[in-house]
Amino acid sequence: MKWFIDISYVAVAVVFVLGLKAMSSPATARKGIVWAGWAMIAATLVTLFWPGMQNFALMIVAMVIGGSVAWWSGKNVAMTDMPQMVAIYNGMGGGAAAAIAAVEFARGEMHGGMVALLAVLGALIGSVAFSGSCVAYAKLQGIMKKAYRFPMQNQLNVGLAAVVGILGLAIVTATDPDGWAIVLFFVLSLALGVIVTSPIGGADMPVVISLLNAFTGLAVGFEGYVLGNPALVVAGIVVGASGTLLTQLMAKAMNRPITNVLFTPMTGEAQGG
């Protein structure tokens, strides 16, 4: 059975890339998403036959709830509210990648430097994508109207990122990482996503969402390595790379370098600050 799953994953990865290619041209764009949709259904179905799986009841319940709520909200949202829906679904993907890492930590099966390193990186990036996307959603939806700017914003961002990075490294190198260190790592990663996106104004949000989308792709790719699942690696890294390029293209179309979007948010303040 396993070989059939593996072959199916290869086919799914190929269809995803072809679908993405089709989506980058107006004439074939709609076909592209439909192909990719069928590939996703196929991937989900064959995964149910993965050897040694249990907890099916809970798994199906989670899929039905998550899938139907998202399907319903996506169908019924106004066309003008689409960007924030993309943001929130993207955040959920990042959250899923982070949760996968969390389960792996809870199982205590994080052996080997490379696996642990990519698990931690994926968890960090996924958490940032999750909380950052929630902020992006809140801003575009009008829940969070103001751009909150902390004093010494850029230093705060870099400082927090450094703390999270050091904590992550400590978890990677520890033979038996402390549970609370892992919890703190996730909390700080989530906080980092909030702090980085809070000062950014609504007009810049599409570029930020695109960047977070690329982040989620990377996180998915890294967790794919941790799980030894090449389909996740290929799909995740393809999205990570194309998302990065797309972010640059969008920023260029808005005539605003990506570094401006992230580090001098809509204030025209001196960069030295």
């Binding site: 799914v12 995803f16 890339v17 679908g19 993405l20 290619k21 989506m23 980058s24 107006p26 709609r30 998403i33 949709g37 996703m40 991937a43 989900t44 995964t47 993965w50 040694g52 249990q54 907890n55 809970l58 798994m59 989670a62 039905v64 998550g66 899938g67 709520v69 998202a70 399907w71 996506g74 689409m82 960007p83 679904y89 993207n90 959920m92 993907g93 959250g95 899923a96 949760a99 996968i100 389960v103 809870a106 199982r107 490379m114 969402i209 792709g217 790719g221 699942n229 890294i237 393809v238 999205v239 990570g240 790379a241 194309s242 998302g243 990065t244 390029l245 797309l246 969008m250 179309a253």
Partner: protein, 99 residues
């Protein structure tokens, strides 16, 4: 040896992603962002595998796994619907000649 093979996969996948969308017109930026958002919804299958191998006696693992599957399914389903709705507008605008 496994590790180095994965490194090849990483690098080649990155080139593929970059190459595949390198000539996208501005009008498709947002739909393509949404479409790639759908594609990383494949995280769902990773979540399913993790959930399937969680210890049934560990509430912590089950809860985390449950959320992973829930969020992954929402990413995939929501990403698809939103992208499909955006791209359906292109079809309506382009008339049937494009088919």
């Amino acid at each position: 040896m496994e590790g180095i093979v994965y490194l090849y996969v990483f690098v080649l996948a990155a080139f593929t992603g970059y190459e595949v969308i390198s000539r996208v017109p501005v009008i498709l930026h947002t739909p393509l962002m949404s479409g790639s958002n759908f594609i990383h919804g494949v995280v769902l299958i990773g979540a399913m595998v993790v959930m399937g191998h969680a210890d049934p006696d560990s509430p912590l693992q089950l809860t985390l796994g449950f959320f992973a599957v829930l969020l992954g399914a929402a990413n995939a389903a929501g990403g698809y619907v939103v992208t499909e709705r955006m791209l359906a507008m292109f079809k309506a605008g382009k008339k049937k000649g494009a088919e």
